[in-house]
């Protein structure tokens, strides 16, 4: 993402391009990623680590599902909603996915406006993202409630392998926690933008380093990641 930073952390011009550029950057002093600030680099590495967590969860789910000797509940029936006089399979989850993907769109626009220092638009878009995220969590709570009333428990369910409920609650719960923390931090970032803390470079609470509009992008990295993870959960849990 070339020149994205504002506070002098940006890339210096006249570096070789392509693979030679990568080699030159890694052979250079001070920084290996010339256009990434500390915070952004840290977020990338954290997300890499988090990828391993979600991968392990999903692999555990696949192991459980492919080694079980009792039938696995049929996703399109379990996750159907009775609406307008018919059972519509996966309707809720389709809406949830749509909401979350849309929130990635508003997030991307927020990042764009942040770099133009358009405070009003940034705040509005961040709040929209947070609202969509909260909607997602809300619908997830609804889905959990529905399944629980139908008798799904972590240790068993009426339709088949007990690992169904166990993996479902664990994985969607872990993902939902990620979304919830994301919403919380979106609100914090929105507040900081609104109060002009990034214009003044006030010290962040968590980092004790001066803040700038790049935080919006770093926040965006996290948000898109959570979104991407959902695509995998959706594919493996609901479509398989």
């Amino acid at each position: 993402m070339g020149e994205t930073t504002l506070n002098g952390f940006g890339a210096k011009p006249a570096r070789p391009s392509g693979i030679r550029g990568v080699a030159a950057d890694w052979a250079s002093d001070q920084r290996a990623f010339k256009s990434a600030s500390w915070g952004k680099a840290m977020m990338w590495i954290f997300l890499l680590s988090d990828t391993f967590i979600f991968s392990c969860f999903l692999l555990a789910y696949m192991t459980a599902r492919s080694s079980t000797t009792v039938p696995w509940p049929n996703a399109s029936e379990v996750f159907a909603l009775h609406m307008f006089g018919a059972d519509i399979p996966l309707i809720l989850i389709a809406i949830m996915t749509f909401v979350l993907i849309s929130s990635s769109g508003t997030m991307a626009m927020a990042v764009n406006f942040a770099y133009r220092k358009n405070k009003g638009a940034t705040v509005a878009l961040l709040l929209a993202t947070a609202a969509l995220g909260a909607t997602f969590v809300g619908m997830q709570a609804f889905e959990w409630t529905k399944l629980i009333t139908e008798g799904v428990r972590p240790w068993g369910n009426p339709w088949g392998a007990p690992q169904f409920g166990a993996t479902f609650f664990m994985i969607t719960g872990f993902h939902g926690t990620h979304v919830s923390f994301g919403v919380l931090f979106l609100l914090i970032v929105a507040r900081k933008v609104w109060r002009g803390e990034y214009d003044r470079g006030d010290r962040g609470f968590f980092t004790s380093r001066p803040g700038d509009y790049e935080h919006v992008e770093t926040m965006g990295l996290y948000w898109h990641f959570v979104d991407l993870v959902w695509v995998f959960i959706f594919a493996f849990f609901y479509l398989w």
Binding site: K12, R31, M42, I45, C56, T69, M170, F205, R209
Partner: protein, 591 residues
């Protein structure tokens, strides 16, 4: 020859990252307790790790007393023995070695050695320590919980780990252990992100990756590995916690206990083993790689010679780090595995021996015709090489499926891993403490106590673990408090067992001399001066000793060369610090 050509300051790119003001502590509390200074955090980490490590040491005495003199100590019941091995193993591996190498040495050395003022995000770094402390407290609490700590073995294999037959399985022990591990991983991640980003993005002018001391390379690679390996343990712990608390069956097959069918069913214990060892094997290298790095620097400094094959050493560290993610199932040969998988994992395991052997050769070639000073750090470094080769050779035995199957779960395995990941890294830790203590405190550790400590520890460690190989070959199983009806088998080794136990007690008490030395030298040690070993790397070039908050005074150092310019022909002294532009004069520094 890695670019030994000095360059003038104007040839070095200007600073890319502006100086960021550090947080200035305002009170005693924020200076020494809730400190954001990586050096203070390092000492807090080390102190906590050593404190809980002493608990593990005492547990090892108790185990040895039981094994050497079975039946003599009535308070060491079989249950207690299981609890001792579990807590001993887990504390040593995670809460002592991992925390000390990464949280302790990583925090102290990374910023100094790469010329940074601090870690990139000091506040997160501070949180890392406090969460680690919490994890240690939760772990220690399990000693006092009803039912005592878990006795599941440090591998915590289900289903036994959460069943009533295992100490702590149906009481608090296992829960506290899992919670503590989860906390540890969260705390470590906060620190680990800092260490990694500081190395990648926080170096000073002129410090290229290929000029970093190998210590930094070792700690950095281990940190990245830990960030990718701990997730597997995290997931395993979360799932086992759910199995235990919520009654899920991730790892629990259908079981009958005391004639009663349990409500579990359909889970896979093997899944846990895969997750555990996907973490567990890299973990071995998470403690080994920092040791590799540190020992390289100790050898080079105390033999007054550049490290042999620096580039090869760096690549060996990186390749070992990468390979160690595809060997984990060599811990599961006896768990039942498709022969092709066994073949695959045996092959990858043996391939790791290649970069490892390269490292050993390079250490030896560094020593070759060096000006070897037998200082205490050097003695420990030499002891490391010997011990590591020793443990590595038995590793080659165990890496082969057919040899491992009969040896698995015998004392031979215990001897092997103590050599390679117990004694060897501990030797480096001692060497490193003797080496850097003068920088941390401004005073030298007392030499005669150091030599005494070294000889007793080194000879003692061999007295403990060498005969243990034989005990294992004869067939004495691991994790048995006593042999019961099979005692006839151990008759030839009874004396050996008693001998090992006495040696273990002696070695243990020698550590008290070391602790005493640490405290005594703080007041009465010889003044060290800024650079007592006449070493080249940046931490020895700080304006004051011990280094102040922010490390460097007004200006961060500029680096002109790698860290291994010892005995350079024509140089005024037998070492050239990394920030010395020789043969240019510092005065030629044009703006």
């Amino acid at each position: 020859m890695v670019d030994a050509t000095p360059r003038m300051e104007r040839d070095i790119p200007p600073a890319e990252v502006p100086e960021l003001e550090l947080y200035h502590p305002k009170s005693w509390w924020t200076t020494y307790v809730f400190s954001q200074d990586a050096k203070v955090i390092a000492i807090q980490y080390s102190g906590t790790a050593v404190a809980i490590g002493l608990v593990a040491l005492v547990l090892s005495w108790l185990m040895r007393l039981q094994l050497g003199f079975p039946g003599t100590f009535s308070f060491i019941t079989p249950e207690a023995y299981y609890q001792f091995i579990t807590m001993h193993g887990m504390i040593m591996v995670i809460y002592l070695l991992t925390a000390l190498f990464l949280g302790g040495f990583g925090n102290y050395l990374i910023p100094l050695m790469v010329g940074a003022r601090d870690m990139v995000f000091p506040y997160v770094n501070m949180l890392s320590f406090w969460i680690y402390l919490l994890a240690v407290l939760v772990l220690a609490a399990s000693f006092f919980a009803p039912g005592g700590p878990t006795g599941a073995g440090w591998t915590l294999y289900p289903p036994q780990a959460i069943l009533g037959g295992t100490p702590g399985g149906q009481s608090w022990g296992i829960i506290l252990m899992l919670v503590s591990l989860i906390l540890f991983i969260i705390g470590f991640t906060m620190g680990g992100l800092n260490y990694a980003v500081t190395v990648i993005q926080g170096r000073t002018r002129g410090m290229t990756l290929m000029r970093m001391p190998l210590t930094v390379w070792g700690i950095f690679t281990a940190t990245v590995m830990a960030l990718l390996a701990f997730p597997a343990l995290f997931v395993a712990c979360v799932m086992m916690l759910f199995d235990r608390v919520l009654g899920t069956s991730f790892f629990m097959p259908a079981l009958v206990e005391m004639g009663e069918q349990l409500s579990y069913g359909g889970g896979s214990p093997i899944l846990f083993q895969h997750l555990f060892w996907f973490f567990g094997h890299p973990e071995v290298y998470i403690v080994a790689l920092p040791a590799f790095g540190i020992v390289s620097d100790l050898i080079s400094t105390h033999a007054r010679k550049n490290i042999f094959g620096y580039r090869m050493m760096v690549w060996a560290i990186v390749i070992i780090g990468a390979l160690s993610f595809i060997v984990w199932a060599h811990h599961m040969y006896v768990s039942g595995m498709h022969p092709w998988f066994g073949f695959f994992f045996a092959t990858t395991t043996l391939i790791i021996a290649v970069p490892t052997a390269i490292k050993v050769y390079n250490w030896v070639l560094t020593l070759w015709r060096g000006d070897i000073h037998l200082t205490v750090p050097m003695l420990f470094a030499l002891a490391f090489i010997v011990t590591f080769v020793n443990g590595g050779l038995t590793g080659l035995f165990l890496g082969n499926v057919v040899v491992d199957v009969p040896l698995s779960d015998t004392m031979f395995v215990v001897a092997h891993f103590h050599m390679v990941m117990g004694v060897a890294p501990i030797m480096v830790i001692f060497g490193a403490i003797y080496h850097w203590y003068p920088k941390i405190t401004g005073r030298m550790l007392e030499d005669w106590m150091g030599k005494f400590h070294f000889w007793v520890t080194f000879v003692g460690a061999y007295a403990i673990f060498f005969p243990m190989h034989y005990v294992g070959l004869v067939g004495v199983p691991r994790r048995y408090p006593e042999m019961g009806e099979a005692a006839f088998m151990t008759a030839p080794v009874d004396n050996l067992n008693a001998f090992i136990s006495v040696a273990a007690l002696v070695v243990g008490f020698a550590q008290m001399v070391f602790l005493f030395n640490l405290v005594w030298s703080l007041r009465f040690g010889k003044e060290a001066g800024p650079n007592p070993w006449r070493a080249t790397s940046l931490e020895w070039q700080t304006p004051t000793t011990p280094p102040p908050h922010g490390n460097w005074g007004d200006e961060r150092p500029v680096v002109y060369r790698w860290a291994y310019d010892y005995s350079v022909p024509g140089a005024p002294e037998d070492f050239i610090p990394q920030n010395d532009p020789w043969p240019d004069k510092p005065a030629t520094r044009a703006a």
